[in-house]
Every structure is written in structure tokens, then in C-alpha cells.
């Protein structure tokens, strides 16, 4: 090979690198290791974590411990899928293109929107992109976001828009949901986007219609970050006027994986399609008239439009979109409804049992699968106790909402059995009684 190239040895090929920037020594990194050693190393790391197979998980807050049917896990492991890249060359990528087209259809059917892209990074960045797209569309520079939107989404939003001269203002919360009156007072002719989460971070169901109408009356775009599993039970956001629907798709057949890879859902109305960020797959025909699929409207994208692109996104989360497509296909109409309903049922049972055990719910708004409670002591301490009983307790809220001292956000998915819930409740009950006793002394 060197002969063909006309080089004496390989180092000649690196002669272009200026002497001063050449690495004189070996890199200081671990290895080399063979498969056997790698496996041993990562098994050890894995053992240092408590995992959701061994612990009953009541954490939600953006990542959910839903059941993944084995048929769903199997498909993204097909290496024709996972070792391919963005289907720029449609003729050799019909498999993935068709799967994304199906994914796009599912997202549209769940949300009621007209057009979905092929995925964003996650729920947070999807919402941020939506806010930017909205402001761009109506040419305004203020974003109103409910304080009941996931705090890490709001943090990401702030980062994303920080460079773009957009202002973010937060709408206060009232009894667990967005304060509609406050929102009405805040929205103005400079408001480009009103951002809501449905169900919101606390699991509560927002009076979305009213908020949407108020926003749109002022000419702002109404953006809803919706939990797709809840859409088995709740009306599609299109029905209450959403202009853009985003969401976290991890619930759709994707393991929690310490928070990534996730799946950013992004859908909008057809009239805004030219402003859509990210990839989009469309159907077409080949020279023989057979149906086929291609990436379309690529002129919106960075690789063509560069500094005027609708977003800078390139690599996205396609494999996760595939997983979601398989998940929705496998569950189908009935299964999807059932998952949705099971989450609802179990969460309501859990909240009621906790109430009976002496733990009051924080709010009374209708909710889906998450709810907040107030404890007589720091939530972290209860969690230590729960861990001893193989339960991963809920999320302490104080770090995110300083006013919610000793409050905890609990999530109950269809995976939690009555037995799991009863175990949670009995540990909590014991703990609460102890606290009460301690307080009385």
C-alpha cells in the first residue's frame, strides 16, 4: 500500500503536521483491553449502580420506567439499522426511511398535528427549538413559559435562546397548574410563544384550551410539550389549539439509560412546514412508479442552507424514532390505550393509599401518572429508608422549587404492581408515623 502511495513509511503521511503540535508521547488513556477485560470492567461499573430491574422505581420527572415489549427491543438491535447513518442515499435506505415515515405518521396521529420531523435530541431541546421557531414565525422576541414546565426543559430553553436575543418570562403556578389569570396578564403583542407542558411537571393536567386561546388571541404561537403515553387517554393537543407539539418520546419503548439517548418529538401544522427544524421524510415514487421514501425539504437544513437553516441539528435520534415506531406498532390501538389507562389507575391508587397513610397530596388538580405530596420531613431521608426496601422513591422537589420544601414528586407507571405500591405506602406510613412521634416528643 505504501508503495502505491509512494511513501516510505506511515509517518511520512503525518509529516504535514507541524512539529510543534505533534504528540511526542503516548496518550495517557487506559487499555488496550480485550473483550474479556472490557466486559469485566463494565460489569464492575454496572454493579456500582442500583438498577430498575432490582428496585421498584417511583421516579419520573422526564424519564419514565415503562415496560418495553421484547419485540420492541429486538428491532433496533438489527444491525442493518443501527450501523447505518442518515439516509442521504434513499435507494439503499428504504428500510429506515419507511420506518421514519411511519414514526412521523404515529406522532401526527397521537398529537393531531399535520407534520412531524424525524426526531430531535430530547424533550428539552425540542421545546427550545419550538420556542425559537415560534418566535421566528411570528417575528416576536418574547417567550412565556409556565413554571410548571420541567425545570430542566426551562434551563435548556434558557441556554438555547440566550444567544438569539429572545427573552424568556415564566408564568407562575397556582394549585399545581399554570396560573391562567397571570398568564393572561403577561401575554402581549411582543409574545412570540407560550409554552406549556401537558401533563405538566407535577403530573397535573393543564387547562390548555384556555391558555391556548388567550395566547392566540394575542397572536402568539401556542407550544405544548406533551407526554406521548398520556395521549392514549387525553385529547390530542391539536384539539386545544397547539401550533407546535413537542415531547419526550423516551416512554415509547426506549430504556431510561441514565437519561440518554432520549427522543425529542416535534410536530406542527402543515403551514409551518418550511420552518420545521430537523429531518423530514416524504413519500415519492421511483422511475418505475413504485412507492419509495426520501429525505425531503432538505433546503431547510444546515447542510444546504447553512447560516440560514431552520436549526443547526444534523445527527438526531433516528434509532429512537425507530424504537418508538415499533413500540406503537406493537401495542397498537388497544395496547396503547391500556398502558395509558394502567398508569392512570395505578398512580391514582398510589396517591389515595398515601393519603390514607397520612401523606397529603400537594394539589388537587386532575393528574395523569405523577403527583406531588408533602412530607413531614426531607424527602431525601425518606428515600434512604425506601432504598432499604428495594424502592427507588420519588423526586425531592426543593432543589427545583425552593418553596416546595419536603415535597416529593412520585410517578407510577404500568410496571408498578399493587405489591410495589403497597410496599412504598407501608414504608412511607411507618416513616411518617415515626416523624410524627418524633415531633411530639
Amino acid at each position: 500500500m505504501l508503495r502505491k502511495i509512494g511513501a516510505g513509511d506511515v509517518s511520512e503521511l503525518f509529516a504535514v503536521i507541524p512539529e510543534k503540535s505533534r504528540l511526542g508521547t503516548d496518550l495517557f488513556v487506559p487499555g488496550p483491553e480485550t473483550e474479556l477485560e472490557i466486559l469485566a470492567y463494565f460489569r464492575n461499573l454496572a454493579r456500582e449502580n442500583l438498577n430498575l430491574e432490582d428496585y421498584a422505581c417511583f421516579l419520573g420527572g422526564g424519564v419514565y420506567d415503562h415496560f418495553i415489549p421484547e419485540a420492541v427491543s429486538t428491532i433496533p438491535q438489527r444491525s442493518e439499522f443501527y450501523t447505518s447513518y442518515t439516509p442521504y442515499q434513499a435507494e439503499v435506505s428504504q428500510g429506515m426511511l419507511q420506518a421514519i415515515y411511519e414514526y412521523q405518521t404515529f406522532v401526527c396521529r397521537l398529537t393531531g398535528m399535520d407534520v412531524s420531523n424525524a426526531s430531535m435530541y430530547d424533550g428539552a431541546t425540542a421545546l427550545a427549538e419550538a420556542a425559537i421557531m415560534a418566535c421566528d414565525t411570528v417575528d416576536r422576541d418574547e417567550i412565556l413559559v409556565s413554571r410548571a414546565v420541567n425545570p430542566s426543559y426551562r434551563a435548556t430553553l434558557a441556554t438555547y435562546v440566550s444567544g438569539m436575543g429572545l427573552r424568556v418570562r415564566e408564568i407562575p403556578i397556582r394549585d399545581g397548574v399554570t396560573d391562567v389569570a397571570a398568564m393572561a396578564a403577561m401575554v402581549s403583542e411582543s409574545t412570540g410563544a407560550v409554552l406549556l407542558q401537558q401533563p405538566n411537571f407535577f403530573g397535573c393536567i393543564e387547562a390548555a384550551k384556555q391558555i391556548g386561546e388567550t395566547a392566540k388571541a394575542k397572536g402568539a404561537m401556542f407550544v405544548v410539550s406533551a407526554d406521548p403515553i398520556s395521549l392514549g387517554m387525553l385529547v390530542p393537543p391539536a384539539e386545544y389549539g397547539a401550533d407546535i407539539v413537542t415531547g419526550e418520546g423516551q416512554s415509547l419503548g426506549i430504556p431510561p439509560a441514565f437519561g440518554g439517548p432520549l427522543l425529542g418529538i416535534f410536530a406542527t401544522k402543515m403551514k409551518h412546514v418550511w420552518r420545521l427544524p430537523g429531518r423530514l421524510v416524504g413519500a415519492t415514487v421511483d422511475t418505475e412508479g413504485r412507492r419509495g421514501f426520501v429525505l425531503t425539504l432538505q433546503t431547510r437544513e444546515q447542510h444546504i442552507r447553512r447560516e440560514r437553516a431552520t436549526s443547526n441539528i444534523c445527527t438526531n435520534q433516528t434509532l429512537m424514532a425507530l424504537a418508538a415506531a415499533v413500540y406503537v406498532s406493537a401495542l397498537g390501538r388497544n395496547g396503547f390505550r391500556q398502558v395509558s389507562n394502567l398508569c392512570f389507575q395505578k398512580a391514582h391508587y398510589a396517591r389515595e393509599q398515601l393519603r390514607i397513610a397520612g401523606v397529603e397530596p400537594l394539589w388537587n388538580a386532575p393528574f395523569f401518572q405523577e403527583f406531588a405530596v408533602r412530607l413531614p420531613a426531607p424527602a431525601e431521608e425518606l428515600n434512604v429508608e425506601l432504598l432499604r426496601h428495594n424502592v427507588l422513591g420519588g423526586l425531592p422537589l426543593e432543589a427545583y422549587y425552593p418553596e416546595l420544601k419536603d415535597c416529593m414528586l412520585l410517578c407510577v407507571t404500568e410496571k408498578r404492581t399493587k405489591q410495589d405500591i403497597d410496599r412504598l405506602v407501608s414504608v412511607v406510613k411507618e416513616y411518617v408515623q415515626q416523624q410524627v412521634r418524633a415531633a411530639h416528643i
Binding site: 502505491k4 438569539m164 422511475t287
Partner: protein, 488 residues
Amino acid sequence: MFNSKYEPLIFELSAEGRSGVALPPSDVPETKAEASIPREMLRQDLPLPEVGEVDVIRHFISLSQRNFGVDTGFYPLGSCTMKYNPKINERVAGLAGLRELHPLQPADTCQGALRLMYELSEALAEIGGMDAVTLQPAAGALGELTGMLMVRAYHERAGEGSRRVVIIPDSAHGTNPATAVRCGFEALNVPSNERGTVDIKKFKELLGPHVAGVMLTNPNTLGLFETEILEICDMAHRRGALMYCDGANMNAILGQSRPGDMGFDVMHFNLHKTFSTPHGGGGPGAGAVGVKKTLQPFLPSPTIEKSDKEYRLNFNMPESIGRVHSFYGNFSVLVRALAYIRANGPAGLRAISETAVLNANYVRSRLLDDYDVPYGDRCMHEFVASAKRQKDENSVRALDIAKRIIDFGFHPPTIYFPLVVEEALMIEPVETESLQTLDAFVDAMRQIAQEAREDPEIVKTAPHNAPVTRLDEALAARRLDVKWTPGG
């Protein structure tokens, strides 16, 4: 090559009453939804397909067989570094203790995960010659955004918020200018010189007090090392601008040279390229960002800190640009990247760049008779050929050649990028391919060049051996059909 059976859409397979998965009945006393949720919020119709498990499996397996991946064959997609993804990485990423983890677990219940991320950031800092690394960005473009927002924050803290221009070569990847704009900068093009590298004279002219930074890819997208990189960095620094390195091409210089040592202040890694995590049909990727000490305070929060005996997430970063992801990035991708680094070790990482560069130069040399390669005498890990000759002489375009190579069982190269090369065919053979494979590819490419001369129709009507013939992209854009509708 492919499963050429026409595969209906999953919706077209639906029949009432079927379902792929059974779920257990509810084991708790019933709560009536109507009693708890306002009726107008409750959904009526749920228009999803009804299909049995066997049909779902067959459908998606059939689709997989209509898709080309690295495991299907040679995939010289330039700029994308489509190297082989070792199976052991999939195995470790699938361990329950690394996959069935909630990101909000208390830190003492996920020490392994935190340690993993810590060790990966350390390794990446070392590889890039940087002082600190964040793993939060979910892909290269988000890494760019993260990095350039830090550049902005840096200048703002220094009271130089008026620096609003970023210099970017015309050969740059589209994400660079798109990112710059997203950060509130103006993207200013610096042209390439006749050697394909930054025109340093023009560059000097563009530098000024309004310049916040320079985004360079090194080696650049022509597969050429920016030989004047030390001068460039020096000039930029002297004018108060920061140097951003798009590290998508790190595969070329792993263990040979480090952006940090060249003078870059901030860079992103494409873990899915350089560190062999699968590309997933378009993602997930991971775009870790490394910075020098000066930029460290601006890193996204949380960072991972190591104390005497534990790892923890540090959210207390007053100067941070904030979050760029719901949690800590694409963790499962990070697992694979660390496995890859550990598998290779210091010598192995160096061998990667050596073989990648050797392979690219070999393929380049063998194609020189038949294709123009406008820039460079040699290349790093990739090179950009041109079908200009074929276009001028036989009206055969880069697109035609790309489609024709499919018939030989190879994935096409990247085409029409970078923009500075007419009819570009960007070829990156990567280090994991054998000489046999490279030779077979070269032979096919040469045969296509011959066909272009002697029988151009066969090239222009390619592919002939794929599940579909050439697809009408114009029609797709004109009659936008982006979701299935019944009977539609």
C-alpha cells in the same frame, strides 16, 4: 443485495381487534377517568394500527433488510467516519446496571455511571489536549452550540460582548455557520486557498476587534491538515478571538496531534465518528466538548466531580451557560465510546489514525487515474474526488456515480460536500476495512469511470440492483406526503 419485496406500511397491515402485546389487567381498584379528568380532556378516537406481534416483527425485519449499514458492507461516507462498531460495545451498553438506570437516582445509587462519565471525560480531555470536558451535548451540532455559547459567555464576561463575528472557512460543515447564527454571531466566510486550506492572508484581513472566534475543522473537510494552524491560532489569539475546533475529523489525528496543542481553546468530539459508536440511521450521536481552563467556568451544568471517595453532580456553577440537554447527554453512547477507548489503549488509538490515513491515501492513489482530486498531494483520513471530468465529458454527475456504486454492493460516498469542490465525491475509507475491500471498491469505481466513458446510460440510470430505482426527490418536495392517510 437487498430484500426487494415490496413492504406495505404498518397501517396497511392493520385489522381490527389484533394486538401485538398483552398487558396485565389492572390489579388496583378502579378510578373512573371521567370522575377525575374533565370530559373535554378525554380522548375519543385513537387511530393506531392493530397488528399482531408476528406481523410487527416481520414488517420491521423486512424493512431492516432494505437498509444498508456498516454491517452490510463498505460505507465510505466521507465526513461520517463509518467505521465498524465492535459488538462488545453493544453488549456492555446493554448491561442492566448501565441501561436500567434513572437519571434522577440519588448519586450514591449510581456511582458506577458517574465514574464512567468521569473517566470518559478524563480520557477525552487527554486525547484532545483539553483541560475539561462536558458530555452533555447529544451530537456534534449541539456540541458546537455549547462551545460557541461558551465563547460568547467568555467575551461577555470580559466586557467584550460586542464581538459578534465568527470566521468560518468556506469548506466548513453546514452545522458550523448554522451554529454560529444560533449563538447570535454573524458567520463570516474565509475562502480556501488553492491548496484547499485556509487562505491565511484573507484570514488576517478578516480578523478584527469584532471577531469573537474562529471555527476550524482540522483536518478540514477536504481531508487536509491545516498546516498553518499554529500561526492561525496565534493570530486569532492576538486579536482576542478564541479558536473553536470542529473535531469531527479526529479520526485522522488520534494519538498524533491534539487540538489543544495546536492552540484551540474549545472543541467538540463526535463520539459516534471517532469512537465508533453506531450511527443509528441518523443518531443518537454524542458531541462531547472539551475546553481549556479559561472556558471551564462556562461549562454546562451539571459537571461531574470526583471527591475522595465518591462522584457527584455539581449544579453549582454560577457562570455556566446552563443546560443543553434534559439530563447528562446520550449516556449509552458514552458507554460505547469508553469501551472503545479502553479496547484500543494508547498504541491502539495511534494505530487507528495511522491505518485510516494509510487507507485513504491508498484509495486516493488508486483512483487518481480515473478521477480528479483537485486538492492536495496526499490526504489525511479522507479525500475529496471530483466527477467534473465525467460531467464535462460524458454528462455523468457525482450523483450518478454514487447511485451506480450501489450496484456493486457499496454505500455511496458523500456527494456535493464540501461545496468548494465541484461534483464532489468525498471518500473516507476508515481503518477497519481490509485491503481486499478497498481494492474491490477501487475496482468498482474505476469500472464506473470506464462506464461513464463507454456506456454512460448505465451510470445515469443507476441503481439497477436496489429495492427501488432512482427516487423522485423533486416530486417528494412538490407533493409533500409526510404521513400516511387512509386511502391516501
